[in-house]
């Protein structure tokens, strides 16, 4: 990958946002007119535990540059314990990515509550920045 390509690189990010916290947080960021990089494509899910590890891997193996999973803070899950499961799955996914030789940083899990519009915008900025630094997903050239 040449330096020029890396410079112009706009990452394509996929977000799985929990309906009750992170999605509402993203909504708040929107209605508050907060600015954040437009790289993320959002899929609303009912709970962060609804995110199937195979879907995350399918996205990353097919060339998405980064996957973001947003859930409620610990203790705030609408379904009481969903985010605990999501957390364990992400730990496993990061190990799988490491074994496969894909940077584990391409997957990020964050807790964002419905009132944290500012934090959502911050997280998006930070994630887009981090992925830009990493460069395009190496799996992209396979397809």
């Amino acid at each position: 990958m040449s330096m020029v390509a890396r410079h112009d690189f706009e990452p394509k990010l996929l977000g799985f946002l929990c309906n009750w916290c992170c999605y509402a947080g993203a909504d708040l960021a929107g209605v508050s007119r907060l600015e954040y990089p437009p790289n993320i494509r959002v899929i609303r899910v009912m709970c962060s535990a609804k995110v199937d590890p195979t879907h995350v891997m399918k996205a990353l193996l097919n060339g998405v540059d980064g996957v973001f999973i947003g859930g409620c803070h610990i203790g705030d899950c609408h379904y009481a314990r969903g985010n605990f499961y999501a957390r364990r799955r992400v730990i496993m996914l990061k190990k799988v990515l490491e074994i496969m030789g894909i940077e584990p940083e391409r997957l990020r899990l964050e807790w964002v509550s419905a009132s944290e519009g500012v934090i959502f915008a911050e997280v998006m900025k930070d994630f887009a920045q981090a992925i830009k630094k990493l460069g395009p997903n190496p799996m992209k050239s396979r397809r």
Partner: protein, 343 residues
């Protein structure tokens, strides 16, 4: 030639005679012409066919979970990896361990079937090929067996140790195990086996096999696995051999719309899906790798993830029926941790 299988045959006969079990599932030679195959034995006379020769063509745990009669009480003559698979299947409500009498054979490795036809027995430091005792050559063992840390089936009801001189010792691990030994008229005996040498061997081979991959940089590692997966002919052999792949509706089937159908080699997700479904509880039996016609080192992949997850979750698969698979459960400690990582 010493009859290494005698003690196992005696136990199987006693279980059938005492009515503890309706049938015994074991490996054996049905006729002189056939190889080692799984046998479902209901007649006492047939126990003579049971063999403890060091081949392990398929997983008996998978056979009983998928095809076994749920109403029958079954005795199983298995190696530790299958005893562990039974425990894992019981956690997943696929078998009810109350219906099983599991007789575990202490195992120091097996040979892949299809590579050799000799009658071979493996002991901690020796091997007997066609009646001739030699020092053990670790290279001939199945690669997953070289990395195995579980030579003693402590999770089985009875564990049987067979020595290179033909003698044997038997230990009951559970109440059911004691019933079996009472029925067979054998007293629990012998000092516990020393597993330090075996653990040392496992650590050495794990270091070698995993170290090779860990030393690679991410690009090399990715290339390595993608090249391996490109050999895949999508025969589903790994899935069909795996004792833990019990689902009847499998996500890998094209109708599930997860993996694109009609493609050979299948997309990388094919292997990664299976890795994520069974990797946290892989009992390193190696049947996936043995079943693979194109020689993808699958057990290396699954065992490596299992070991990596072990450092985070501290989970040992197939040892305790009450500890649940780490990726599909949460524990008390999780509840106190607030961050996105629990490491």
């Amino acid at each position: 030639m010493k009859n290494y299988s005698k003690v196992i045959q005696d136990i199987a006969r006693a279980m059938l005679r005492a009515g503890l079990v309706d049938e015994v599932v074991a490996f054996g030679q049905d006729s002189a012409a056939s190889g080692i195959t799984p046998l479902f034995i209901t007649d006492e006379q047939d126990v003579e066919k049971i063999s403890t020769v060091s081949y392990y063509p398929c997983s008996l745990a998978r056979l009983v979970a998928r095809y076994g009669d749920k109403n029958k009480r079954t005795g199983m003559i298995v190696r530790p990896c299958d005893a562990r698979a039974m425990v894992e299947l019981a956690k997943r409500r696929q078998v009810n361990l109350d219906n099983f009498y599991i007789i575990g054979i202490e195992c120091y490795g097996v040979i892949r079937t299809g590579t050799r036809r000799e009658e071979i027995y493996i002991f901690p430091a020796e091997m007997e090929i066609d009646g001739e005792l030699k020092p053990l050559d670790e290279e001939i063992l199945s690669p997953n067996c070289r990395r195995c840390e579980y030579p003693i089936p402590t999770m089985a009801d009875v564990s049987v140790r067979i020595e290179a001189d033909g003698s044997s010792s038997v230990t009951a691990n559970t109440e059911k195990g004691k019933e079996v030994l009472t029925a067979a008229g054998i007293s629990s005996q012998g000092p516990p086996s020393d597993v330090t040498a075996m653990k040392e061997r496992a650590a050495r081979w794990q270091e070698k096999d995993f170290g090779q991959l860990r030393e690679m940089n991410p690009d090399e590692r990715r290339k390595y696995w993608l090249d391996q997966f490109d050999k895949c002919i999508k025969c589903y052999g790994c899935r069909d051999a795996c004792p833990l792949c019990y689902c009847t509706a499998c996500s890998l089937c094209p109708e599930e719309s997860l993996v694109q159908g009609g493609e050979v080699p299948p997309e990388t997700l094919f292997h990664i899906t299976r890795l994520m479904h069974v990797g946290d509880s892989c009992c390193n039996c190696g049947h996936c790798e043995a079943a693979c016609p194109t020689g993808i080192p699958l057990s290396l992949l699954y065992h490596m993830l299992y070991k990596e997850l072990g450092t985070v979750f501290g989970y040992e698969s197939g040892v305790d029926v009450n500890s649940l698979p780490p990726v599909s459960t949460i524990d008390e400690e999780d509840l106190t941790k607030m961050g996105v990582d629990i490491g």
